[in-house]
Symmetry: D2
Subunit: 340 residues, 4 copies
């Protein structure tokens, strides 16, 4: 049964595997002190036009989030996130396990705004409450939506004015940046956030996320934190080789573009059938709202996740495409859809 | 410059890479719920003759240690380890960061004994002190030494009598089990410990450690802990594929035997030159004690770690071999040694 | 300026002070191993008809909550509380600082119900989310409301059915138990919760809270946790002496009855003036909703806390009475109210 | 049976009780924002000639240590202490429970030296190990010994040169400062440490320790940490009243002088009988080394703690005097000693 469950159902892009094979017997230093990691960092810094950024390659998103957030916050400080945020919903309390509260707020579409942040600040002004300090956003969000440049500029301003850190979870940053509706560049992200990560696992790598720290105040001793949290990979070169391959040319973005193209094909087909969506997503996660009998029929041939029960008769599902999604499978799905 | 620095300087054995390539485009469920992981677990359980064991595949040793120890202990409980133990020396306080003290004791050779454990218990009998609860040992140890079966039986008995858990860090378990001087089997380890892990990273895998939980009381909800600590790999199948390959036949042990053979060649050569060793190791880490000028000369052609300053003129170094160590490089080293 | 700000503005009831004076030069063992503490425990066990309960005397409410909750939960487990709960609002993330998430839910009146709990359980069924395990309620609540016996029985049943622990914060338990509208006894509380505490600080003691653990599974090694969290008072006898005095006869409940009487006088006067209340409280916290100009005028003569802004023109304030509230001050307030 | 077990067997000095009685019905703000606390802080700042110090009044020593150390350290940082230090031996891993390792070193007499510190620094130079950052010393030490001014100056210099914080646990600071052999003033302590606390519990107060933070970098948001760790006393005025009474004149030091005088009487008597001591203490803890039969006989009439087994026949015990020790009980003990 073909799966549209997520963007980590397959291994890696062939060029990634080839790079690993090619370098396999070379001896390198461990713990990300190898030259592939250095090369990868240099490529990334160049791409974001920030020679001063500190970059750390880690294995997975939850690992990055808990390591970064616990490193950036003082004990009494908390993170602010949407109630749909990954750190609130899908990390088994990883942030709280490091001692920090996650203050959540309802959003329309998975995105934070300066008004929502201000509301949190206004209700946390006492020393008898945690001190909000880090704003956590994802781009694209858990609901497939995007931040426009002006939205991110506004968040950045709000954070600067209120002495907050802005941290962007880029597990699906590739898909966000190549979206038709996107007007942000990687350089913008680096300039408008205090730290963010570029997701590799969901975009062609076997595994890997590149944490970028732009704010000088957050850089010191970061490798200690990675090791302490169990995230310093012995064969760190594996991360360097993969990110080098993804960023030596346009591969990272090509793979994301493919994922988005497949998603838009699905989106258009669903739209033509008259279905509405939970959010208007232009990225690789689509959330059509379907009658339950349609959901059932699709589930007979395809795997996918249920996103939300809308009412007795209707359910929003999640369809995810990736670098690995074959067009033929998408076409087949669309054809099947027509029959239902 | 050839490196004898550690056993994680290269990628993976060719069969591992081929297995990853072969399965690359297959869609699997994430987070280690895939069938490769199931297969790998079945193979491991069979090999250790423990159908009842719970097995979890994680990415790295520090991750395993901090996840397991913090899961197994109640807040007031502590781990006991040798002062040379990995959790005390090389994990940047990963265990303490989860809230638990590591009580250390000096040892002769990196190995704990029931006497050393008893001494710790005798000095921790008050509720004003942490309650020792878990005994942490490594096999092979950080100093290359091994536990014999009777030693492990004695430790097991000591732990049982004192209501302690016995946890074995098997980062280099392969090398230990195939050592000429070893009389333990994988089945023994499973029967004599409450939990242990089988190291993949240092023995042919790209990355990966198989945590085996034999004590029923420690099994419940373990996957929650892995996720909470950031260790639940999205593409968990990568771990399953690797461990399946390592254990479908004798590959894991073949690779370890090779590493040991290379180490013994080095050991014999060093011994013939009249050098003594920090410990009498029969595994893939050798610790020759050398005059400083010899250390200097070796360092002009080879990379290795300094283990310990013995005195003004003498230093103990660490030479590590692995599945990837080419015999020709070992021979070359031995020849070079003869000239110095 | 007279203060209705809270119930901890004064020292202690005169009998408490006298008991401390009387016993002052007696030598006792430290850390709550003294005979006064033993007597106090015996009196409490008798009063709640639970000879099998374990009782620990601690200094303050936040200390009790963080020590108990972190002791009762495994790392992946979370507490459920009302969004108005003390652990969510007024403890500077003390629970999260021990590693545990607090899952909150909106309530009408500060009280949890089985429906609200079920909703939390239904949305936390995955190992990628924390596992709800402890239900935290306060009696009286932060909004002055009470649980009736049937409500507590229902919560108890819900928790038992769902394998949850029920923990009751009794910072103001005295006021709750003597309320005209209360039908619970101390014995009921002991039988319907897994653990709870009896607040002394807010009811006549200089300081002190008595944590009662009824569930056998939660008792083991509890003193270790108290010490580890910094809560084991060296001169523990001070807690024993105070609780002995409060419970050797009816003093604890007398003091609470006085507090409630004063509160009801205020409540009736405010009601007569036509004011509504945020909640219908029969305990020592009253939450009248007043026009802002009235709030201003009251503030010229009295201290009190603002509870909530209702709209542009209206604010809910909090008036708190205690064992120390003099009737003359209450009468004076009522008279002043008539003029405004 | 008279007890020389510790210096917290009795309540408080009569002036403390009187002050509490006198102020009992006054309404004050809570959480240490009252004017008594302000007065106490002013008195302390004056006494140490540091108007710029931040002072926080907490309830007990373990609470101070865990709150301060976890506030002052970043996650990867550790404290250094003697193996006899309170944080290593008598706090049930309170520091580790906040996530930080305590690196210990053997000492002769409970005192750290720059050489011992340097040895720790030399063995912790890798990012794979915790980063030593805070040096924890007690004055007087757990073994009754003192730091001279030149010793503290040297430690201060060592810490400054190595970018370490120097934290002094002053649970028995009174006894240290009034010792015949002491040449430090309170002002010196304030100038030579980054933070320290003045112990009240063991020197005449019912409870209470005054944490003094001199290093500006450590001051920010400290009240948040106190609340988060459960240490912010609701009736904070109780601490203010007690410290005001202790420091409005010479009471604090008078009480300590009395304790020391009693200790010296015991010391001289024991010395005259030819007994040796574990340490040469001039403060209120004395550690005579006695034949076991003598220990037994003393134990028939007096309570005291066993400090250390010296050999089969000899034991070092601990005798503690305090502000409450009656001279007549000391004389009686001395007389009894003569008969044994």
């Amino acid at each position: 049964m073909y799966s549209f469950k997520n963007d980590y159902s397959e291994g890696a892009h062939e060029r990634i595997l080839n790079a690993l094979i090619k370098t396999n017997y070379e001896q390198t230093d461990g713990y990300s002190t190898d030259e592939y990691t250095e090369n990868a960092k240099a490529l990334l810094k160049k791409k974001m036009c920030r020679e001063d950024a500190d970059i750390h390659l880690l294995v997975g998103g939850t690992q990055v989030n808990l390591t970064a957030i616990s490193a950036f916050l003082r004990p009494h400080q908390a993170a602010i996130g949407a109630d749909t945020s990954h750190i609130n919903c899908h990390e088994t309390g990883a942030i709280e396990a490091t001692g920090h509260k996650v203050i959540t707020t309802k959003t329309d579409d998975g995105k934070l705004t300066k008004e929502l942040i201000q509301r949190v600040l206004d209700s946390h002004e006492s020393e008898h409450m945690v001190q909000p300090k880090l704003v956590y956003i994802s781009n694209s969000t858990e609901l497939g939506t995007l931040y426009t440049k002006s939205e991110l500029v506004e968040l950045h301003r709000c954070c600067t004015e209120n002495n907050l850190l802005l941290f962007l979870d880029g597990a699906r940053l590739g898909s966000a940046l190549v979206s038709e509706e996107n007007d942000l560049t990687l350089e913008d992200i680096a300039n408008l956030t205090d730290a963010f990560y570029i997701g590799g696992t969901k975009n062609g790598a076997l595994f890997g996320e590149a944490l970028v720290i732009c704010n000088d105040a957050l850089k010191e001793d970061f490798r200690y934190y990675i090791k302490q949290k169990g995230g310093l990979l012995a064969k760190g070169r594996l991360l360097g080789i993969q990110f080098e391959e993804l960023f030596k040319d346009d591969l990272y973005f090509e793979l994301a573009r493919h994922a988005n193209e497949m998603a838009i094909l699905l989106k258009n087909a669903l739209r033509e059938k008259g279905y509405k969506f939970l959010t208007n997503s232009s990225t690789n996660q689509q959330f059509p709202i379907l009658p339950n009998n349609v959901v059932k029929m699709i589930s007979e041939k395809y795997s996918f996740n249920i996103e939300r029960i809308i009412d007795e008769d209707t359910t929003a599902i999640r369809l995810v495409t990736s670098w690995a999604t074959k067009k033929e499978n998408v076409i087949e799905f669309i054809e099947y859809l027509k029959c239902i």
